[in-house]
Symmetry: none
Subunit: 251 residues, 2 copies
DNA sequence: CCACAATTCAACAAAAATCAACAATCCTAT
DNA sequence: ATAGGATTGTTGATTTTTGTTGAATTGTGG
């Protein structure tokens, strides 16, 4: 393991995409060295390489939000459009944070008169722009890479609302343990939203089925029968039991 | 995957429709390259192409707030860049709502470790994406065309913060009456921000000097001596007295 | 409908980035 | 101190990307 590896990974992951030249300037070495050092990283999938630059592929959990929105873009767009089919004009919905939620917000611009409560500033600002919507931003202090809030006031707002649907997401799905995320605060927000919502819509793209657990992960609260699961590909066989009661939809 | 892909998608999605020429200027490459890079994106449906420009698949351009951001665009971008020169890494700033504020938020992405409080969900989400920033969203219920909040909790948050600068805007400027806006709630937020800030930065483009009062307009609180006024052209003669004490900047 | 301007496309030339091989340098264990 | 191994910078051939040119196409205003 090279002595530059950590700095390299940090820099690329932080910015999403950095040119080889700039990296060589930052690390004070030749560009050839950058290529050499990055090759093993690319091989083991920690980085992605394009002509002239390195692009982060790191576990989506800690990518800048905008970079994450470009990972699996097509899948997420497809899922978002499927989710929107469930929602009707005039419905109310709670939306959690996560890149898939961002795409759902985009797609929901085709619906009118929505009542929305969310702890994601991105979702809030996207949907508040639509004339006729009623959007509440839950929370004050924003997390510094995705603009989501998990503070006390977020719960106060969520607990005051009663909504038809809640849109949830997960960092990965395990056949035995269910839907998992990395942070306790995300579970807490999901619980609060679920407690005040009619049916839940869990949106996960297929990459979440294959991903391995590397960090310790926490369970999302269990879904009720007839809640929706929206995904872009049929999940593997061994998830059948976990999803038995859910209304599964895909494009 | 090209290294320009992410920026291209972001820019087009953000603005709804961008001309090939402008994209080439933004990315610093020839227009032929824009066409080349965008072709695969168009093929896979991430973008749409028309003669002379690229259009986002999820059209956003017709939304009121974003439409307003495209009015006098160059002037507002220039002003935003001038404002950013005043702000240093690590500073704290309160930002009100308004289209110019949106551009300042964009431009502030070059600053690090900012502490920000704002009642605009758009500004909040833009700046919260930057790793290292500390952003507070003031308010819960969002106004339905620009995503700004003016409710009680907004004031609570603003009044708790003490910041170096406050960025304010105005709908029009009158030589005798000063800086004017249309809604009382906007004045109230501005007052609250001013009360807890060091120096104020008033950002207005030149069109605000010429505009006539059509609706009854309300006065923004008066600025202190040595507060900044940032604008894109020297204001007409008759404003001299009004601006006498201000530190006037333009590009 | 025609002429004029703007945009696009294809093809080629120029520039930039990559790779492999080799020489210089650094580190470390004896 | 020094040999062996690893790391780094340099060079030149190769590949990829980019800019430019001119012809074809599309849009526009009489």
């Amino acid at each position: 393991m090279s002595k530059y590896e950590t700095t390299l990974l940090q820099t690329v992951d932080m910015r999403g995409t950095v040119s080889v030249q700039e990296l060589s300037r930052i690390l004070g070495v030749s560009d050839q060295t950058i290529r050499r050092v990055s090759r093993p990283l690319v091989d083991r999938g920690a980085l992605q390489k394009v002509h002239g630059a390195l692009v982060s592929t790191k576990s989506a959990a800690d990518l800048p939000y905008l970079a994450r929105m470009n990972l699996n873009r097509e899948a997420k767009v497809a899922i978002a459009e499927e989710v929107v089919k469930i929602i009707q004009d005039g419905d109310s919905i709670a939306i959690d944070t996560g890149s898939t939620s961002g795409f759902v917000a985009q797609a929901l611009r085709n619906r009118r008169e929505l009542t929305v409560v969310t702890n994601s500033a991105y979702v809030a600002s996207t949907l508040a722009m639509i004339p006729g919507n009623n959007v509440s931003m839950a929370g004050t202090q924003l997390r510094d890479h995705d603009g989501a809030s998990f503070d006390r006031s977020a719960f106060d707002v969520i607990e005051r609302m009663q909504v038809d649907y809640v849109l949830l997401s997960a960092s990965l799905v395990d056949a035995r343990k269910g839907f998992l995320v990395h942070e306790q605060c995300e579970v807490d927000i999901a619980s609060a939203m679920l407690a005040n919502a009619g049916r839940a819509i869990m949106a996960v793209d297929h990459s979440k089925f294959e991903r391995q657990l590397r960090k310790p992960a926490l369970r999302q609260p269990t879904l009720k029968p007839r809640d929706y699961l929206v995904t872009d590909r049929a999940p593997p066989e061994d998830f059948a039991e976990l999803f038995a009661d859910l209304d599964i939809r895909f494009p």
